[in-house]
Amino acid sequence: MNSNNSFFRKMVYLLILMMVAVPIVWLGRPSSPGDQGGKLAQERTEARLGQADLGAIDPASETIRLATLGLRGIAVTMLWNAANNYKKTEDWTAFQSTLEQLARLQPYFVKVWQYQAWNLSYNVSVELDNVRDRFYYVKQGIEYLMDGIGYNRDHPRLLDDLGWFTGNKVGRADEHEIYRKLYKLDEDLNPNDDPTLRDNWLASKHWYEQAVASVDEKGQSLSTMNPTTFFDSPARSQISYAEAIEEEGIFGETAKRAWRDGGRLWKEYGEREMPSTDDFMIKLVDENKWKLEAARLRNELDALDPGIEAKMKEEAQGQLTADQRRVWEALPADPSADEQKWHTEALGLMDVSVPKIAARIAKDKPENAAKAQSLAAQIEDANRRANLISSNRDVANYEYWRIRCDLEQSPESLKARDFAHQAEKRFAEGDPEGARELYEQSFVEWGKALDQFPEMPRDSTTGGDLMEFIEDYAVVLEQLDLSLEDEEVANRFVLWELLEINDQQRKFAGAIEAYKARKAGMPVPKRAEPGDAAGPNSLINPAEAVPQ
């Protein structure tokens, strides 16, 4: 009896085990080539959560993590403390090796890669005085990010950071001239010696394109990144490349091609459909399209009851009290509280908005009510889209860069920049007279180029760039005992309008006044002597601030 019971019990256990095994196998069966595996494996593949989906599986990292025997959190905390301490005590070798250990313990924690790469490239590099040593740590930060991308394949934020470090840290630092040369010569950053990646800005473009591709093709999320500033990066790097090669003296067809590529990428960026802060997608090139659409719809609405808007305004005006009317017509310079209140009330009454017009049409002509309401909604939507696109265009400074790419491709601009570069060289070689002539030729070409693009805002970055040339020109003139205030020089100079707009530090205030006076046929004002309160030497040189 007992043995039967025991046998029966074992059979029941076996049955339960088999029953439990079925869902376990269904859920947990691992995937293998040609087999998608159980439900969990399929879900993992679909959500790209498998370790192999995240990036490289590093045996060293796995070993270290296993070796901590569940104390990874403590080990990580100790390493972070150690890294902070090494940074404090300027032990850069130990700092760097601690970061490597840290990364192996937290290889899939993207913030670690971001934070510590920044630490290396931006914080540690500036602690060293030698430019080569500085570049070494800039490069270490870049390589650290590359390692991070190895573990976190297609992570848009890491790729975007890599593009930023490669482009901006190398290409915009004060030491950028030397950094760019060292970058080109470096064999670790471009191990396959790919000619398209030798320049830091082109390499930056490459990484940005990878970041964009990770979103477009691999379905990665942008997370909290702003689409407007994320998607413009490849084009910006291309533009920066064009600027950089011109700064280094490469002009002609190469520079033109660089600007052309920049312009093309910028146009593609404008035509890209991007998520917006509203619930619809936007294209930066569509601003006019939506403005026109809004205008067309508005005409249609007006056609439902012609003259209704004017009529409503007249009625609203009639409802204003005497006080409201007075402040509505002319708000005093220093309004009292009451006047402020009346003004707000008057504006409210006088606001004849599209929904109000639609409502009035619906009231006056009930047969058009549905159409009026529909048109009002469409107008509101079109305006919202146009406004959103407009503000995003401002964020990217879209219009300026579009024009700039076209302007820089013009033969006059290319020539102007070439002349300015030659002038700079000529001056460095001790030929101020030759430099002066070249600068003046450059300004003439700039004048022609800017005339072709009247829509280019004169107070833009281009204006700032040109101001640098003008300042260099002023130094050359000073060497020749000349100045922009001299009539002869002023007559040769052609960029007076641009100078006036961009001279925010009023370095050329005297020259501008003299030019204006001469133009108006008035006597030229007396020239400010150096050392005057508003003279050119009024700014404090930091080196002068050291007490004697």
Binding site: A60, T89, E90, Q101, I178, P542, A543, V546
Partner: protein, 609 residues
């Protein structure tokens, strides 16, 4: 190398100590006396509670007097017999497994280390020596903590105590036995580590003939060639060859290579030179002159959190002045007497308030001055190499400030062998930072192998202290408890300074009881606790009970961090003998003190009476 605490000469350290510290020997006696008195009081209290005051006093007196006479009768032969037993026991407990673990660590070390680094030798040496330290300490812990408790558990202690052997000899014998085992392990690990480092860093290059550019002399003659080596081990060097085709490479990743011509367009590149060094510095005493010309002990702060260095401002009278003793032309006796120079090494920390000229180093000057006659040499300019060791050889023949020719060793060294080195920064608005160890007279390098061996001695010292503590405490408690005690001892030893800072109130956040309150109430260390009865009780407990106990415990704790000399080897400096002798003396103090304590603790066990 960063030297935060000045190393005193051995006998000064032993007898009189530094400015704010007592000599090691008087300190030892005070602590010894304190521990002995405490032990006596506690022992008497226990005896009195068991047998009454008078009988308790008799028992205490008897124990102490017998103990002292037994300790004096300790026989080396019996101690050695116990030591051999301990060695055999260690072998039986497969201590060699530690070696297996060590070699396994070395096998996989290259996964985590890279030679493509600015200071690869530092990385490798730090790694192997730190790994050896932890492994040896672990082995010392396990061997010592479980040995006696196991004997008690398996009753094998009875077969020992039935022999004519005293309790003190059991303790000392075990300490010596385990120390011998540890020494053997450490010796094998040390040799293995050194070979690993040298082999890992070894590499060579070939000369890239296509990179050659001809260098011409002032008269247009062929003065040699410039070029680059091949890229190996993640780097390449630039090289300069003389007209005969011999030369050397630039420093990359902390080393150079010598190049020798062995035929037309054939060159031999040497293995890496200068990876592992043992610089022998002679440090001086640093003082400052500030920008107004006033004498100061320190320079100015540039706002760095780390106050190791202080700064002088450029293009002002601010000067860093080192005074060196015992200076003569015998510092480097190799060259002929007339050609001997003063080999100085200088580390400058540059701090800039403006960019200056990008790519151009800041300029400084060095002057030498006779502290007696005040005769000063003309300034010698140098380019500041930020955070690098810059080896500067000051020639024997110099010019004085009045442009008279002077002899460095005859005119600038005072009769008692002193010389002053004055360093200034020339660039306005820029700063040079210095610590005392940033300028030294460079004696000929010592043997890197000998220096490495001295680092191993410092590891050995730590392990012997752990063994002594482990054996001593295991006379009283079971194996796992002894192990926990020793782990606690090691942890407190590594963070001794923090422990002392809490005990002396230097750290924020109060003592242990206050910490518990702060954790429970989530009040950070900077928050003033409310004036409540509970908080006052807690603060009082810390002040009058916990902190004094912590302070007393801290007096017996070794500072494990200060024992470590890994930094010397990693930074390429010779470990001074003063340092080795000091460590070994401290170790001896612990062995003696703990052996005596262990003896009395073992006597409390029934089996050893």
């Amino acid at each position: 190398m960063v030297v935060e605490q000045q190393l005193l000469p051995y006998f000064q350290w032993l007898l009189t100590g530094g400015e704010n510290s007592l000599g090691a020997l008087p300190s030892f006696f005070f602590v010894f006396l304190g521990v002995a008195m405490a032990a006596l009081v506690i022992g008497f209290a226990i005896a009195a509670s068991r047998y009454g005051i008078l009988r308790g006093g008799d028992v205490t007196y008897k124990t102490v007097s017998e103990g002292l006479s037994e300790l004096l009768q300790t026989a080396p032969r019996r101690v050695w017999a116990i030591a051999r037993l301990a060695i055999k026991e260690s072998m039986r407990r497969r201590v060699a497994v530690a070696l297996g673990v060590f070699f396994l660590v070395l096998l996989f070390a290259n996964w985590f280390l890279s030679t493509n680094h600015q200071e690869p030798a530092r990385l490798y040496l730090s790694f192997v020596l730190t790994a050896s330290t932890y492994l040896v300490l672990g082995v010392a812990l396990l061997l010592s903590a479980f040995s006696l408790p196991n004997d008690f558990k398996t009753k094998t202690i009875y077969t020992v105590v039935t022999k004519p052997v005293r309790a003190g000899e059991i303790i000392l014998g075990r300490i010596i036995g385990f120390t011998i085992v540890i020494t053997g392990l450490l010796a094998i690990m040390g040799v293995g580590s050194y070979i690993f480092v040298v082999r890992s860093l070894d590499h060579s290059h070939t000369v890239e003939l296509e990179s050659f550019q001809v260098v011409t002399g002032p008269a247009g003659e062929d003065a040699g060639k410039k070029g680059t080596t091949s890229r190996d081990a993640g780097h390449r060097h630039e090289l300069t060859l003389d007209a005969e085709g011999n030369g050397e490479t630039t420093v990359e990743n902390g080393h150079t290579h010598a190049i020798e011509s062995i035929g037309e367009n054939k060159y031999r590149v040497s293995p890496p030179l200068g990876f592992i060094r043992a610089r022998v510095p002679q440090y001086g005493k640093l003082r400052f002159i500030d920008r107004s010309g006033a004498a100061k002990d320190t320079g100015i702060s540039v706002g760095s959190e780390w106050t190791y260095r202080s700064f002088i401002d450029g293009n002002t009278p601010a000067t860093a002045i080192w005074t060196f003793d015992n200076v003569s032309d015998a510092v480097d006796p190799k060259p002929p007497e007339a050609e001997r120079s003063l080999p100085l090494s200088l580390i400058v920390r540059v701090f800039k308030t403006h960019k200056g000229v990008i790519g151009q180093a800041l300029q400084g000057t060095i002057q030498l001055r006779n502290p007696e006659s005040q005769l000063t040499s003309e300034p010698l300019p140098f380019d500041a190499q930020d955070q690098q060791v810059d080896d500067i050889d000051i020639p024997r023949k110099l010019l004085s400030q009045s442009r008279q020719e002077i002899d460095l060793f005859k005119d600038l060294v005072s009769k008692d062998g002193k010389i002053e080195v004055l360093v200034k920064c020339l660039d306005r608005g820029q700063y040079f930072g210095f610590a005392q160890a940033d300028c030294y007279i460079r004696h000929p390098d010592g043997s890197p192998i000998a220096s490495f061996a001295k680092v191993c001695v410092s590891i050995w010292v730590q392990a012997v202290i752990v063994v002594s503590v482990g054996v001593t405490i295991s006379t009283l408690v079971s194996g796992p408890v002894a192990m926990l005690f020793v782990v606690g001892f090691i942890i407190l030893g590594f963070w001794r300074q923090d422990f002392v800072d809490i005990a002396t109130g230097k750290s924020y956040g109060g003592g242990p009881a206050e910490s518990v309150v702060r954790i429970a109430t989530q009040a950070n260390v900077m928050v003033q606790l409310e004036d409540t009865l509970l908080n006052n009780l807690v603060s009082g407990f810390d002040k009058y009970f916990a902190k004094p106990i912590m302070w007393a415990v801290a007096q017996t704790l070794p500072d494990f961090r200060s024992f470590s000399t890994v930094r010397y080897a990693a930074d390429g400096y010779n470990v001074p003998w003063d340092r080795v002798f000091q460590d070994v003396t401290v170790c001896l103090g612990y062995v003696i003190g703990l052996s005596i304590l262990g003896y009395f603790l073992l006597r409390t066990r029934e089996v050893a009476k």
